[in-house]
Symmetry: C2
Subunit: 227 residues, 2 copies
């Protein structure tokens, strides 16, 4: 198995047949030892976070499969802390698609003149380009089109797919008394078919979840969710 | 005449009849003594800059009037360095509408992974909220709608109006051998009719203009333009 790419929270191995193996690690993004799903640097390492993230990811990808959501998910091996996925080609140098149900984090930092912390947002979708050096700037539909990253049609498809997926995830969390505030998804083109598919992971590491007014840390989230 | 509002580069006086008088000042925005149309602080004061800005503004608003572009412009008095305009209500707490023909400034700082400095852009429109404290963040169509600042219909109208206006301004500058790289406009609702109208000024202070590969400073621009 050849190491193809060493990521911040996952390593990617080539296994052939338009598939790759993702090995989940115990690193999470954050700054100064504090977990922050929006951060670009690995802030801390927590034993078991990889396995925890994979359990959540497996659960949600399998749920989304029953909802006919196209994704890269093939199978997951919890003990090996790895997941087999379809190989995908990113949009441009990588996009992050954020879906917001509450005004927190960078959204509140930008639009605090118009919202209070925690105000409800109706599955508001924002896109950012993956660019650590430039702080992952947000990018508009028109700019994505002009820079040749996404066509207008692809943008609208991605936005609608994001809203659909995130509503399923929000509902699923709600069955456990948990509330999704915001979540970051990634999409790519299926290398074999060119279809737009959901990629990456779906876990505490890329969502903000509250129980009542208490923020649930990623590792706690898995415990809460599966208890 | 009652002082209504003291701005960074203009003061606003009430004169009644849904009109106000704008008194242009000799202050320009910038940082560390260097002019930057995108900056939020008054960086320097240059004698004659107010009158220079008003001459440009008068010229362009009168040009746009012949093109049937709706604006706040009523009349200008160059000697008094003042302009009478229709009173307008801003969108939210104020929006800036940027039209880009070349990738420079904050656009390049954000999307430098996808563009080279000076790359052509086809009248790309970006909106930012006026919020000095938060660095005038860009804002998307969906966010403007969700925060109740602009409806989708108003957004599209504003975008098309901006493209039209900026193409006129670009063509006019081109007749003097000058090239418009980017420009910042402001719009509001006419207090008397509620129509969307172009407000503020149109001068070196809110555009980046080059002659060949040489950047033309705002005060120089007026000299080049009227010579």
């Amino acid at each position: 198995m050849e190491l193809k790419y060493k990521g911040k929270t996952k390593d990617v191995y080539s296994i052939g047949g338009n598939q790759v193996l993702l090995k989940f690690k115990d690193d999470v993004t954050g700054e100064n030892g504090v977990f922050d799903p929006g951060a670009n640097t690995v802030g801390l390492s927590i034993e078991g976070v990889g396995k925890s993230g994979l359990r959540m990811t497996k659960h949600f990808f399998e749920l989304l499969k029953t909802k006919k959501v196209p994704s890269h998910y093939v199978s997951a091996d919890i003990e090996d802390v790895s997941m087999v996925v379809k190989e995908a080609i990113p949009f441009g140098k990588g996009l992050e698609v954020i879906c917001r149900f509450r005004a927190v984090g960078s959204f509140y930092r930008r639009y605090g003149a118009y919202v209070q912390v925690g105000d409800h947002l109706d599955s508001l979708v924002e896109l950012t380009i993956k660019d650590d050096e430039r702080g992952d700037p947000t990018i508009s539909k028109d700019t994505l089109s002009m820079l040749g990253i996404l066509t207008d049609v692809e943008y609208e498809a991605l936005k609608q797919l994001t809203k659909t997926i995130c509503r399923y995830i929000k509902e699923e969390l709600a069955t456990k008394g948990l509330e999704l505030y915001d979540i970051k998804l990634e999409f790519g083109r299926d290398k074999a078919t060119n279809d737009i598919i959901l990629i990456d992971e779906i876990s505490g590491g890329n969502m903000r979840v509250y129980k009542g007014d208490k923020y649930i840390e990623p590792l706690e989230l898995e415990k809460e969710f599966f208890k």
